[in-house]
């Protein structure tokens, strides 16, 4: 759970960093996309690796959730939480939201079957116009609302996930404990802010087609 999760977190961070090239204009982002596509072996290795990490993560999550539900057959009539954060208690829910978001996101921007009004074009350098596709997508308020909701799920999930995985791996040391505790909310905040900046920059017309 912890290792597969951390692998996915690292991907999410690089995914955001790569997408920041949208701020450098269409040529930069399209060249970056072409660079990734130019290495088919690496691309597919990464895709298969990510997919297996995700499948492993989901299968383990389902197993653990079922086991944990069985561990308390009769629920409390009254329940008050003192310390367990909202994010930590809703990992299964935020995980499902995140999974659905990822599936739709892949169908939308990678496979390209969600939005029929989007057309694949080439830019002036002959690269596929990923930039144009992105700008087209985030001008649609429904798509923007959906992506923002997905970011909410991502932020909620990560804010518990990162710190929790450190604890699972037994990382605990008086000098670093505050850093380890802050890592979850910190990573979640950075990733969500970064991704939301891209979405809103397009929607508010700061980044134009």
């Amino acid at each position: 759970m912890a290792l597969s999760g951390l692998g996915l977190v690292i991907y999410v961070i690089f995914h955001m960093l790569g997408n920041f090239q949208v701020f450098e204009g269409p040529l930069a982002l399209n060249a970056y996309a072409a660079l990734l596509r130019d290495m088919p072996i690496l691309l597919w290795a990464a895709r298969i690796g990510l997919l297996s990490l995700a499948v492993l993560h989901v299968v383990l999550a389902i197993q653990l959730t079922l086991r944990n539900r069985r561990a308390r057959p009769i629920a409390y009539a009254v329940r008050e939480y003192r310390q367990a954060s909202f994010a930590s208690r809703t990992m299964a829910t935020s995980g499902v939201v995140l999974l659905l978001f990822i599936i739709v996101h892949l169908l939308h921007l990678t496979v390209g079957v969600i939005d029929p009004s989007s057309v694949d074009r080439l830019d002036v350098e002959g690269h596929r116009d990923v930039y144009g596709k992105l700008v087209h997508a985030f001008q649609n308020p429904f798509i923007v609302a959906f992506y923002l909701a997905g970011q909410l799920g991502l932020g909620l999930h990560l804010s518990h996930a990162v710190t929790s995985s450190f604890q699972t791996l037994g990382l605990e040391q008086a000098a670093f404990n505050r850093l380890l505790k802050a890592a979850g909310p910190g990573v979640a905040l950075l990733v969500v802010l970064g991704n939301v900046a891209i979405i809103l920059a397009v929607f508010l017309g700061i980044v134009r087609g």
Partner: protein, 262 residues
């Protein structure tokens, strides 16, 4: 003071349980929670009804017998105490108080608020001990243990095995209990030789008993009457990872205190 109590009543392990409402009248604010239940039970006995069964022993917070979930929190609203150390002045006059047993598959209800916590004993029997005879008290400074180490081991050893961590956990996981026991033995030289097999055996016992798994929500730490830190869960995880790496069945650790003489 006057209180309305919603108490879980269940005749036996296989019976259907339900909440029954009782009135506690003329309660002095200095009454402890268990004394208040005693007086309610006196009233029930006088009326010829079956008194409410609940577990208690020392009534000074060290035996780990009392086990009530009060208004949704194991051991009630105050931190760092057991149910028997809770006083009625903590509740507003006329309050409605819901009292439930620890709820977990591994803790089947015996009657009313009494649960069978022998699952924790069986985890201890699986590895929560040292096999060597300790003999008589050794001379001072024979076995050197740093102050930090001794204090950390003592923090872990303060676990009274009440099971509030399991009761509070969303997943009914005993990770804090097992973490405290594994850490307290692992931190001291007498416990080190068997650390590899101990952590494996104890965690296998946890699985056998039908407990849930730790989700690092840290609710256990917040209800623990001995305020045991979740860092011991991290130490437990570290020990388990180490046991997976180290070859099992090693007779002794090279880092035992007598290693320098060899």
């Amino acid at each position: 003071m006057k209180f309305t109590l919603n108490i879980w009543r269940q005749k036996g392990p296989d019976e259907h349980g339900r909440f029954v409402s009782y009135e506690a009248r003329d309660v002095s604010s200095g009454t402890s929670f268990l004394e208040m239940l005693d007086s309610v039970n006196q009233g029930l006995i006088a009326k010829g009804e079956e008194p409410v069964a609940f577990e208690q022993d020392c009534r000074e917070g060290i035996c780990g017998s009392c086990s009530l979930v009060i208004n949704g929190i194991p051991h009630g609203p105050d931190r760092g105490i057991t149910t028997c150390q809770l006083y009625m002045r903590r509740f507003p006059d006329g309050a409605v108080i819901t009292i439930e047993p620890w709820r977990a598959r591994a803790f089947p209800i015996i009657k009313d608020l009494v649960v069978d916590r022998r699952a924790l004993d069986r985890i201890m029997q699986a590895g929560g001990y040292i096999s060597v005879h300790t003999g008589g008290a050794v001379d001072g400074n024979v076995l050197l243990i740093s102050k930090d180490q001794a204090e950390t081991a003592m923090d872990a050893a303060s676990c009274i095995g009440c099971g509030a961590c399991v009761a509070a956990c969303k997943n009914a996981s005993p990770a804090l209990f097992v973490g405290a026991k594994v850490s307290h033995l692992e931190l001291l030289p007498q416990g080190k030789p068997e650390r590899t097999n101990r952590v494996k055996a104890m965690l296998e016992a946890v699985d056998r008993e039908g407990f849930g798994s730790c989700g690092n929500q840290n609710e256990c730490e917040a209800v623990c009457p001995k305020r045991i830190s979740v860092r011991f869960i991290a130490i437990l995880n570290r020990e388990y990872l180490r046991a997976g790496v180290v070859e099992s069945g090693l007779p002794a650790e090279p880092e035992s205190p007598h290693a320098e003489s060899t």
